[in-house]
C-alpha cells in the first residue's frame, strides 16, 4: 500500500471532507496553502490572531448549518479560547436542551521534543477530558489520523483533534480508498499476555519498541491504543488487563490528573478487573514540569521506550 505522512494524512481527510460537504469551511491564523488552492479564500480563511473569537465563531456558524474546522495550530494557543471551549462549545448543546447541533472540529498539535520550551510544548488533553460535551481524538498513525479526522468532521458534536507534533513526518500505510474509523474503539496495536501497556500517540511507537525488547527477555506485552480519548473504549482496556493482570500507562503528558490517571482509575475501579490485577498500576509520563528548552533538560522530561520497558520489568518483578 502507498505510504504517506501523518501530516499529509490529515490534509487528505480535510480535502476529502471539504469536497464532500460544501458546508465545511476552515479558519486558522495561517491558511494552509493546499486548502486555499483547492477551496479558495472564502472557505479557507487566514484570520487575525484571535483564536478566542474563531472558536466562538465556530459555534455560531455550526448552529447556523455549517461545519466549521478551526485549526488552533499548537494546543498552547487554544488557551486564549478556553472560555469558548469550556463555557460555550462543551455546554451549549446540553444547556439549550439539545435543540440544535454544533458540528465543529477544533484541531491542534500536542507534545514536545522540538526544543520549543514551555509555551510551545504541552499535552493538556486531560484538561479537556474533564469537561463533558466534547469528543476527542489522539491518533498515533497516518492511517488512524485520516480515518479519525474524517469521522470527526462528520460528527454532529464539537470534536477536538489532538495531533502529535513528533509524528507529523511519520510515514505509514494509508489506502487510497475511502474509509473512516469509528470513535470509541481502541486498537490493539500488539497482542500479548503478561502486561498491558495503554499508550497514547507517540508513546504507542515507544511502547511497541519496548515490547520488542521485552519479548527478547521473555515478557509478552500487549499494546492498546485508545485512539479516541472521549469516548474512551474502557471495555477493551479492562479486558486486556483482565487477561494480562498488569497495567502500564504511557503518556507524553505529565501524570497529575492526566489521561493516564483516568485510565488507571477506570481499571482499578472495576471489581472484576481489579481482582485480576497482580501488580501496582504504573504511569510512565513526563515529569510534572513546564517543558524546558535546553536539550539536556528536555530529554529527561519525557517518557520513552527505556522508561516504559523499565516500568514493565518492575511490575513483572512485583508479582
Amino acid at each position: 500500500m502507498r505510504q504517506i505522512s501523518y501530516a499529509d494524512a490529515g490534509m487528505e481527510a480535510f480535502i476529502e471532507e471539504m469536497e464532500r460537504d460544501p458546508t465545511t469551511f476552515h479558519l486558522s491564523t495561517d491558511a494552509p496553502p493546499p486548502l486555499v488552492d483547492k477551496f479558495g479564500t472564502s472557505r479557507v480563511r487566514g484570520t487575525p490572531i484571535a483564536e478566542g473569537a474563531l472558536t466562538g465563531m465556530a459555534i455560531g456558524a455550526a448552529g447556523s448549518g455549517f461545519r466549521p474546522i478551526i485549526d488552533w495550530r499548537m494546543v498552547t494557543f487554544s488557551f486564549v479560547a478556553m472560555d469558548q471551549v469550556v463555557n460555550q462549545a462543551s455546554k451549549i448543546h446540553y444547556m439549550f436542551g439539545g435543540q440544535t447541533k454544533f458540528p465543529i472540529l477544533y484541531r491542534c498539535t500536542v507534545g514536545g521534543g522540538l526544543r520549543m520550551a514551555a509555551q510551545h510544548s504541552q499535552s493538556p488533553y486531560s484538561m479537556f477530558m474533564n469537561l463533558a460535551g466534547l469528543k476527542m481524538i489522539l491518533p498515533s498513525t497516518p492511517y488512524d489520523t485520516k480515518g479519525l479526522l474524517k469521522t470527526a468532521i462528520r460528527d454532529d458534536n464539537p470534536v477536538i483533534s489532538f495531533e502529535s507534533t513528533r509524528l507529523l513526518t511519520m510515514m505509514g500505510e494509508v489506502p487510497e480508498e475511502e474509509y473512516t474509523i469509528p470513535f470509541g474503539v481502541a486498537d490493539i496495536k500488539r497482542e500479548g499476555k503478561d502486561v498491558t501497556i495503554v499508550a497514547l500517540a507517540w508513546l504507542v511507537h515507544e511502547a511497541l519498541a519496548a515490547a520488542e525488547t521485552l519479548e527478547a527477555e521473555g515478557i509478552s506485552v500487549e499494546v492498546v491504543d485508545p485512539r479516541t480519548l472521549v469516548p474512551m473504549d474502557t471495555e477493551t482496556i479492562r479486558a486486556s488487563v483482565r487477561k494480562t493482570g498488569r497495567l502500564v500507562v504511557a503518556d507524553e503528558a505529565g501524570p497529575t490528573c492526566g489521561a493516564s490517571a483516568e485510565i488507571a482509575a477506570l481499571v482499578t475501579e472495576d471489581p472484576s478487573t481489579f481482582k485480576c490485577l497482580k501488580a501496582s498500576v504504573r504511569r510512565v509520563c513526563a515529569l510534572q514540569v513546564p517543558i524546558p528548552y535546553s536539550p539536556t533538560l528536555e530529554d529527561v522530561v519525557f517518557p520513552n521506550r527505556e522508561k516504559i520497558a523499565a516500568a514493565v520489568r518492575t511490575v513483572m518483578a512485583e508479582a
Binding site: F25, S42, R43, R45, T47, P48, A50, G52, A53, L54, T55, G56, M57, A58, I59, G60, A61, A62, G63, S64, G65, F66, P68, D83, Q84, N87, Q88, I92, H93, Y94, M95, F96, G97, G98, Q99, T100, K101, F102, P103, A132, G133, K135, D156, N157
Partner: protein, 322 residues
C-alpha cells in the same frame, strides 16, 4: 421612514410583554418557584424591541445574562420561556438552562449567555455563516457596557470589520455592570467611539427612544445586507431594578440617578407618543392591551405549573447530539 401606528402598537405590546413577564418572573423567583437567578431587563425594553422590529424572522440575534427582553422581542413563546424558568420539561431547554440560557434557534435567537461577552463571537460566526450563505441574512449581537471592555468584543468587531460581515453590534449601555460604574471602567464617554478603531460606523442613540433605536438599526441592517459590513450602535439606557432579583442583591447606584431615569421610562414615552401626539391609542385600548398581556403571562405560568419537571433519568440526555 414612517412606522405605521399598527406597528407602533405592536412594538408597545412587545415592550409591555417584556415588562409584565419579568415582573411576574421576579415575583415567582422570590416566592421560590423559579430558581437560580433572574436578571430583569425592565427599563431597557426599547432597545430589544427597537432592534428586533427592524429584523426579519431569519435574521439572528444573541443575548446576554439579561435575556428575556431579547427573547420576547425576537418572537419567543412565553409559555416555553416561563416553563424554562420554572425548570420544566416543556421549557425551551427542557429545564436544563433556566433564565440565563433560553435559546430558540428556530426564530434566530441563539441564546442568552451567562458569561459576559460570551455571545459576541458566537453571533459573529452566525454572521460569517450568513455571508457564506449569501441570502442577505444579518446577525445582531446584544451586549452590555461591561462586556464592551472584554476581549471578545474587540476580536469580534475587528474580524467582522475586516471581512465585512453582515453584523450589527448593539451595546446596551445601562451605565453599570453590577455595582461597577461604566464611568470608572471606560475612559471614554461613548462605547461607540471604539468603532473608529475598526473603520466602521459607531452610532450613539437614546436607548429609551424606540424610534431612534429602530431607525439606527434599520440603517445598520441595510448597510449589512448591502455587504458594507458591521455597525456598532450604542444605546444609552438604564435598568430600573437591581442587577438581579435576589432580595439580598446590593445596589449602590445613586437614588437621584435612578429617579432621573425612571422619568425616561421607554414604555411611558411610547404610550405618550401614541396617545398625545398621534391619538392612536386610547386609554381604554392601552388598558385592554395590558390586560391581555397580563393574561398571557398568567397563562404562561399556568402552562409552566401544569408541566412536569424533567424526569431525573433525562439528566444524561443531550450531552452529545446523537
Amino acid at each position: 421612514m414612517e412606522i405605521s401606528p399598527e406597528k407602533q402598537r405592536e412594538m408597545l405590546r412587545l415592550m409591555q410583554t417584556i415588562r409584565r413577564f419579568e415582573e411576574r418572573a421576579s415575583t415567582d423567583y422570590v416566592a421560590g418557584d423559579i430558581y437560580g437567578t433572574v436578571h430583569c431587563y425592565i427599563g431597557e425594553e426599547a432597545v430589544a424591541v427597537g432592534v428586533c422590529s427592524a429584523l426579519n424572522r431569519d435574521d439572528q440575534i444573541i443575548s446576554t445574562h439579561r435575556g428575556h427582553g431579547h427573547c420576547i422581542a425576537k418572537g419567543a413563546d412565553l409559555n416555553r420561556m416561563m416553563a424554562e424558568l420554572y425548570g420544566r420539561e416543556t421549557g425551551y431547554c427542557k429545564g436544563k438552562g433556566g433564565s440565563m440560557h433560553i435559546a430558540d434557534f428556530d426564530i434566530g435567537m441563539l441564546g442568552a449567555n451567562g458569561i459576559v461577552a460570551g455571545g459576541i463571537s458566537i453571533i459573529t460566526g452566525a454572521g460569517l455563516a450568513a455571508q457564506m450563505e449569501g441570502k442577505g441574512r444579518v446577525a445582531v449581537s446584544f451586549f452590555g457596557d461591561g462586556a464592551s471592555c472584554a476581549g471578545p468584543f474587540h476580536e469580534s468587531l475587528n474580524i467582522a470589520a475586516a471581512w465585512k460581515l453582515p453584523m450589527v453590534y448593539v451595546c446596551e449601555n445601562n451605565l453599570w455592570a453590577v455595582n461597577t460604574a461604566a464611568s470608572t471602567t471606560l475612559a471614554v464617554q461613548d462605547v461607540a467611539a471604539r468603532a473608529a478603531g475598526y473603520g466602521i460606523p459607531g452610532v450613539v442613540v437614546d436607548g429609551n427612544d424606540i424610534f431612534a433605536v429602530h431607525a439606527a438599526t434599520t440603517e445598520a441592517v441595510a448597510r449589512a445586507r448591502a455587504g458594507d459590513g458591521p455597525t456598532l450602535i450604542e444605546c444609552k439606557t438604564y435598568r430600573h431594578r437591581r442587577h438581579t432579583e435576589r432580595p439580598t442583591q446590593p445596589d449602590i447606584r445613586p437614588q437621584a440617578e435612578i429617579d432621573a431615569w425612571m422619568k425616561k421610562d421607554p414604555i411611558d414615552r411610547l404610550v405618550d407618543h401614541l396617545q398625545a401626539q398621534q391619538g392612536q391609542l386610547s386609554v381604554e385600548e392601552w388598558q385592554a392591551m395590558d390586560a391581555e398581556i397580563l393574561q398571557q403571562v398568567e397563562d404562561s405560568v399556568s402552562f409552566a405549573k401544569a408541566s412536569a419537571f424533567p424526569s431525573p433519568d433525562r439528566v444524561t440526555d443531550d450531552v452529545f447530539a446523537a
